[in-house]
Amino acid sequence: MKREKQLLKGNYAIAQAAVEAGCQSYFGYPITPQSEIGEYLSTKMPELGRAYVAAESEVAAINMVLGAGSTGVKAMTSSSSCAVALMQEGLSFIAGDEIPCVLVSVMRGGPGLGYIYPSQGDYYQATKGGGNGDYKIVTYAPASVQECVDLTYKCFYVSQKYRTPVCLLADGMIGQTMEPAVIGEYPYEEIDQSDWALDGAKDRKPRFIASIEREQEALRKRVVKIFEKYNKILENENIFEKYETEGAKLVITAFGSIARIAKAAVKLARKNGLKVGLFRPIMLNPFPEKLVAEIAQKVDGILDIELNCGQMLQDIKASIANCALTIPVKFYGRPAGVMMTVEEIYKQIENVYKEIVEKKYGTACI
């Protein structure tokens, strides 16, 4: 479609972008706060002669994606938290099989059923995973409806280019937010899948796509190969936002919807004369450790802010520890339920700034 600005809800933006990206097969099961994605595609996909299947469970949905992806088409599922939990087995197989696909995960509160409030409690689930074995799910986190569009495109491209599952990690806040966004043609080149995908063994030897590998050395090599791919993805496909980090004494780290609120708080801090910046990783997995370390070398401290009990925090700390830095890393977060306000975050910034930069407090303030 022609590029145009529309007033879009995050979930619809994802669904429309998937259609624009050429998603050929969608499989899903309803769960709040992402059900609009499946609702939209249930009408749109058949209109376009593409596949929509209301799966009987998320277990089935991810395995339908496995089958669809094995034929080389762009395949997608979408879900949330306690239901993404059900997909972990399939994701491990898909990663081992090197099948391209996109998983949209719109986080809600947990653990267990939790509730439908926005949350970032599934950072671990997305980036560390619950499936077995050595693998990663490449993960991008949008902070606006515009990024829901742009990153959905990116997810399809990266999944197809590197033959790997890619997760768009949104949250209930982004999924349910309505704001203007530009949506248009899929901006990436199409990646030819014909040298590996299953389409019937006509005039060639049959192909076998599997995670099983009986030879010890071959099994080892397969995992090494997959991890070399993750290095390439980090090198070539990493995206992030840096805001006012030059000359900053304190840098805020945050991702997704919270990063957007944090950015407003950083603006307020700058206005009040505090040298504060923001670093927002957009690609969360593989984690951009070097970038965090580079930033950390130039500041007096880091304040990590998340709508959870401190999950990305561990990756921030590891990034800093890996380069033997000892700057303080503070954390401000809360479990799902109540979103943070700009004022609340600003207050935390002010306190940490006083403690770390102006050294006015002797002990941790949080």
């Binding site: 099989d97 299953l198 005039d203 076998f208």
Partner: protein, 251 residues
């Protein structure tokens, strides 16, 4: 004059390696499916789904494209393949533990949707690959490594009759239970397998075949004794026959 009376089907690989135990019916079942693919002329547009269990090594034998599914998820994977490539012939090759226990939801729902695929289920009343534990189809009284004094209904319930269940599912077009215990039975099984593929090709719905099979290693029987068991107590509980046939009705 030379006359070719028997040959390896093209749908079996030239360098196939058989990993099944002596006397196991898997080998015959694989061969019949391959012969049917040959006869229907669909080998080059077929995509198979390998399941978990003894059937996982399908790719060692079948000369077709194959994708492996996690345990029990073959019919979901088959759905994904077929919906994405409707012009392909898609089949699953699963054990009873895979199809009727851990994958029962995927099996019934794929068939409820009438997915145009064919499912082959090897029912040997045990988990063969893991060493002969009790499964969904284990007979009452059957000794396994987890029912050491025989399966008791009051402790572990009853054997699941999968063909009887699946014939009631509206999306199935062909449902049959067959055995491989005699040349006549093998000939009949092949006819049924062919119909289960025709159900798919004609777009009538899902084709399903349950093959009562031997597992001499875990049953601790000779191949002859194992086939006698299929003919005897297994066939008494799991009655062979055609349970549903919309393929013949459509002709």
């Amino acid at each position: 004059m030379e006359q070719l009376v028997y040959k390896k089907p093209d749908s079996i690989k030239d360098d196939f390696k058989i990993s099944f135990c002596p006397g196991c019916d898997h080998g015959t079942a694989v061969k019949l499916v391959a012969e049917v693919l040959d006869e229907l002329g669909v080998r080059e547009k077929t995509i198979g789904i390998a399941s978990v269990g003894c059937s996982v090594f399908s790719y060692d034998f079948f000369n077709v494209d194959i994708v492996e599914a996690p345990h029990g998820r073959s019919m979901a994977a088959a759905t994904g393949v077929k919906r994405s490539k409707p012009d392909k012939i898609v089949f699953t090759y699963q054990g009873d533990g895979d199809l009727a226990s851990i994958g029962l939801a995927e099996t019934i729902h794929a068939m409820t949707r009438g997915e145009k695929v064919t499912a082959i289920c090897i029912n040997n009343t045990t988990y063969g690959m893991t060493g002969g534990q009790a499964g969904p189809t284990t007979l009452i009284g059957q000794v396994t490594t987890t029912t050491t004094s025989g399966r008791k209904a009051e402790l572990s319930g009853y054997p699941l009759k999968i063909s009887e269940i699946l014939k009631e599912v509206d999306g199935t077009a062909y449902v049959a239970r067959v055995t491989l215990d005699s040349p006549a039975a093998i000939m009949n099984a092949k006819k049924c397998i062919k119909k289960a593929f025709e159900a798919q090709i004609k777009g009538l719905g899902t084709g399903f075949i349950e093959i009562l099979s031997t597992c001499p290693t875990n049953w601790k029987m000779t191949p002859q004794e194992a086939h006698a068991r299929v003919r005897g107590e297994m066939s008494e509980v799991f009655k062979p026959g055609v349970y549903k046939d919309k393929v013949s009705e459509a002709l």
